[in-house]
Amino acid sequence: MKIVIDLQGAQSLGSRNRGIGRYSLSLIKAILENHSKEHDITILLSALFKESIEDIKKQLQEIVPNIDIKIWHGLSNISYLQNSYSTNKKYTEQIREDFIKTLSPDIVLNTSLIEGYIDDSTISISKNLPYLTATILYDLIPYIHHEHYLADKEVKEWYHQRIQNLKNSDLLLSISESSREEAIEHLKINPQNIVNISSACENFFQKVDISIEDEANIKNKFNIKQPFILYTGGIDFRKNIDNLIIAYSKLPQNIKLSYQLAIVCSIQEEQKQSLYSLAQKNGVDKSQLIFTNYVSDSELLYFYNLCDLFVFPSWHEGFGLPILEAMFCNKAVIGSNVTSIPEVIGDERALFDPFKIESIRDKIEELLTNKELKNQLIQHNKSYSKKFTWQKSAQLAIDAMQNLYNKRPSIKKDKSKKPSLAYLSPLPPQKSGISDYSHELLFELRNHYDIDLITQGEDIKLDFTCSIKNIEFFKQNYSSYDRVLYHIGNSQFHKHMFLLLKEYSGVVVLHDFYLSNIVAHIELTHYKLNFLNLSLYNSHGYKALAHRYKTEDLYDMLWDYPTNLDIIQQANGIIMHSHKPKELLKKYYNIENLKNLKVIPLLRKAPIKKDKKAIKALLNLPQDSFLVCSFGTLGETKLNHQSIKAFINSSLVNDKNTYLIFVGESTDKVYKDSLKELSAKFKNKIIFTGWIDYPTYQNYLRVTDVALQLRTLWRGETSAAALDCMNYKIPTIVNANGSMSELDKDSVLMIEDEFKIEELISSLELLKDATLRDKISTNAQKILRTKHNPKECATLYHEAIEEFYTNTQTLQESIKTLSKISNTPDEDTLLNTSVALSYNYPLAPSLKQIFVDISTLVQVDAKSGIQRVVKNILEHLLYNPPSGYKVEPVYALGGRYSYARKFTLSFIGADENILLDEPIQPQKNDIFLALDLAPLQINSTSDYLSFLKMLGVEVKFVLYDLLPITSPLFFNDEDIKHFKLWLEELLKADAVLSISKNVASQLEDYIYHNKDIKNISLKIDSFSLGADFKINTYLPKKEQEEFLTTIKNSTTFIMVGTLEPRKAHAQTLEAFEVLWSQNIDVNLLIVGRAGWLVEELLQKIKNHQQLNKKLFFVENADDDYLTQLYKNSSALIASSYAEGFGLPLIEAAQHSLPIIARDIAIFREVAASNAHYFKDSNDALHLAKSIEIWLELHSKNIHPKSQNINYLSSKESAKEFVDLLIN
């Protein structure tokens, strides 16, 4: 049984924190725990309460980790209080019902129906739904006591509307026998359609040992000085608190003075004062009456355990949960003898008449004075309360639903009328292979449908009558057709269908998997501008666009791209003629097990027998000829040249009666000429027919003795010609290429896909044996007569089309239904509906998107280390998208994200105007990658990131460093504040990819030491940055050349990086001043832009007496010049106090430049023992000494060598990153 459970009962603002919400969740958890394996269960949550989703998901995933949760979207602001039963509300009800239909449930369980007055809860039960419905009934208290609860007209209207929906439910599950009986009595519900599933209590409520200290604390807090009588359960007129207080006041004085009365629940001040007045009026001192107001669950537990008696005087309950909670705490419980209370208490001795004060008083007195009775009741409660378990309620619910399901009436299809079908296909006399195929199919399909042939006005020649309509008619009357069928192939006969299908969806017969040629044709002939670009982008992403703009031969380039994903997505269902194209779906889109795909054999009509002799005469062929034929358009992929080679190298060529005939035209003149050249010596034995009409084609089939149907570079098509040969009982040689490999091995002579010529020759020789020929051809014909016969195939078409339409709720159907809702919806309603529907009907199948946030890069390329990494990874992703993924660079805009198409097109060298930037359309299983460091933008999109997570998008961050946290001294307050906000966002993500193990470890430490951080499921990984060794053909300018010579000719130490306090330029300069003062001949070359907090340092450098003598400062070195500077230096000084990675170390290693580095963890991680380290201190003297030591080591050539550092290339680093990203 497939069960969909609507959990709005646990989501709604009205119920989520109350009994209904707790009941809903507890029951469903019990159902999952006990029944998730036998039944297919889906949980349905409303996106209109997105803040509730994460918590509910977590709770349910603890029970069933891979639980199926579906989230539906509707219009907001639809509470009855705000807008009554507005158009938006009606739309949302319909949207919800249609969404449920997409899940094809057997039964829908609604956890709460009386919702939606103050919030956006939407649960409707229309008549004639294609699924059964079960609804939990809590109580009918407002219905029965309407004069009190439904005095307001609006509330009454709303409530009665809810009750009407309740009555439409196929099954009601009441939470008590009392509620069940009320529904039967007041709503006239059929007793067979309502089942009592009872209720239960959380395990939390139990007898506990309370320490003296805790007892004292709670008593002090609430001013409890004596033993007390407890009530809990809310203040409402039916709760009967007034009578309880009066009954208490009438207790004997000694009892009254010995026991306080504690009312433990939320209470408003005026209610409290009113009850105090009542108590005082009845002689009860204020001190005897305790009002606690709201208490936590743990405090409530203490109250239960500490009380002497629990009293529940309510005169109407749906169940009465506090009674059960008190029973679970092993307390004596007394309650009213009305509605559900007796069934929960289960002992008459504990009941009183709530309408008679004396009755309440007497029962309290009895329990407080009669210890024996009290103990008996306590013993009774211990065992009786065990009847109430969630497991039992879940079982009762499932059993009731199962019974309902078993008794469901079968759906009788009205077979008296054939459904109408709009049929779009090339048809005779159009010169398309599909024309004749369609003609034969239509003949049989007419038995199943009333068909309108939709044409573009061309002449159609059929052997039978069929209604013909034009495209305009089709568009106008689309909604009146029951079914639509498109035949789509890679030729211009189908071009109009590409545009029609988008708006007028239908089932598609995909004759060719690769559609790039026709798609290109549509654009290049201006039938639809930019069509190829859009199709390439939608199916294959930026890689394909980059390829297009870089290629010289467009059609050669298109060979690699099927460009058919739009068609597959827009179709209601896909029909193919073999299973082989599924491999292409996997190859190009990583799609497996496409649900709406059917394989139907290519139909072949049994040929009419004709006299072979007469036909040979007609074709001017010798009567005693033995004909070896190859059918179909000539081309390299048909391996016609191999056929010729095999033939001329076989013994058949020597037989004067044997001929090789190529039946079909060639559109490739060059190839055709090469075939003629190859067969030049055997002109009389090898014949090329050229183009022939269909009857002539059939005649050749009739007279062929052996067929040769070879193929390579299969493009998803089914070989109709091979099937024709089999159909005409011709023994056929095929190679196991593409769909031909699926042919029955006894019905053809199959050779290897990539066969050797000897194999082909040998096959030809084998088929000289007439017995073998007969055996193979008989088998072939048998298969064609059964599996491929038109009647059988038409039946399969009918079954497939019906399945596609019946089992699937489509977007178009939903739109159709919505349009029937009365009133003209305003634009706002339509816009919001569009948004909701786009999420409820995600494009499927689809490539998963990787949204790469490049918000900063889009605005400016600061050429910083981080942006170098961003560009490297982005480039790798764009040109090497992981299988099944589409890489989409995005940027933050207006609190959301937009596709950064313009930027990306420019980045890959394509025309930046072919695609527009627009808001992203995320779906479940997409990935959002915060690749760029964008603290300001990410805070404005915080809500949207939560929305993405709710949709099921995985959010992942790249962490470059934690420097503003670990080394705050190097940053200003504003930067630290923004970074902390950014980090808060990062900590909510699903995963973090750090650029080094060191940074990953710092993040783990940070989380460990921050108890406020709640996201313990955050995955933290690290990858290694890389760098590329570029062969530098850069030609320096003259002044640069001189400079390079200067530094090369002396010992020059280079520092690379933005000038900022963290990089310790000041300390390094001081160290060199020490060296210069000692007349040590060394240079210091500082390369980098001026950053922040370095004004003093900059002044010092610019005014330094050694500037341009021993001290050099290069501010704006591009990558090429930087490479030259590395090459001509003697060593790198990496003196940063803290780093995320330290890319200059890798860059130095690429140039075999020795490294002198501060001894910090990250440098050790990158360089290991392949660098010379100095102590991490502020002491310039120490650094100077360390440099001196290095000079000494260097002079003896025993200094650490950086060329031993292991590092990845940019490509390897990006690959490592991507593997982590998707795994």
Binding site: L13, A47, L48, F49, E51, L75, S76, N77, S79, L81, Q82, I118, D119, D120, E147, H148, Y149, A151, D152, V155, F237, D242, Q268, E270, Q271, S274, Q476, S479, K502, E503, L811, Q812, I815, K816, L818, S819, K820, T824, P825, D828, L830, L831, N832, T833, S834, V835, L837, S838, L843, G894, G895, R896, E918, P919, I920, Q921, Y944, S946, F947, M950
Partner: protein, 102 residues
């Protein structure tokens, strides 16, 4: 008679106080919803309100619970939705027009 009096008393109190289900409470809620709607559509009003509300975190939290549950809270325009959403919008519009005509 007693029950009637109890009911009358309760309802009278409810009518003039902000007890649950009382008319003043419902009217007040409706007003608050409307105020929330207006302020969310106007950035300057929203920002001013937030400055005030930041001093009253409990009230702010309560109002947050009452606000739209639509994740965007920003009125939609045709140019601010994705192309797929625009396609659906056009289909909705066209289907509505055809439906009204027929």
């Amino acid at each position: 008679m007693k029950n009637f009096l109890t009911w009358f008393k309760g309802n009278t109190i409810a009518w003039i106080t902000f007890a649950p289900q009382s008319r003043p409470r419902r009217v007040a809620k409706s007003l608050i919803f409307s105020l929330i709607t207006i302020s969310l559509k106007n950035n300057s009003i929203k920002e001013t309100l937030l400055v005030v509300l930041n001093h009253f975190p409990k009230i702010k939290h309560r109002l947050k619970q009452m606000k739209y549950t639509n994740y965007e809270n920003i009125p939609l325009k045709l140019h601010s939705i994705s192309s797929r959403q625009r396609d659906i919008f056009e289909m909705l519009k066209n289907t509505n027009i055809k439906s009204k005509k027929s």
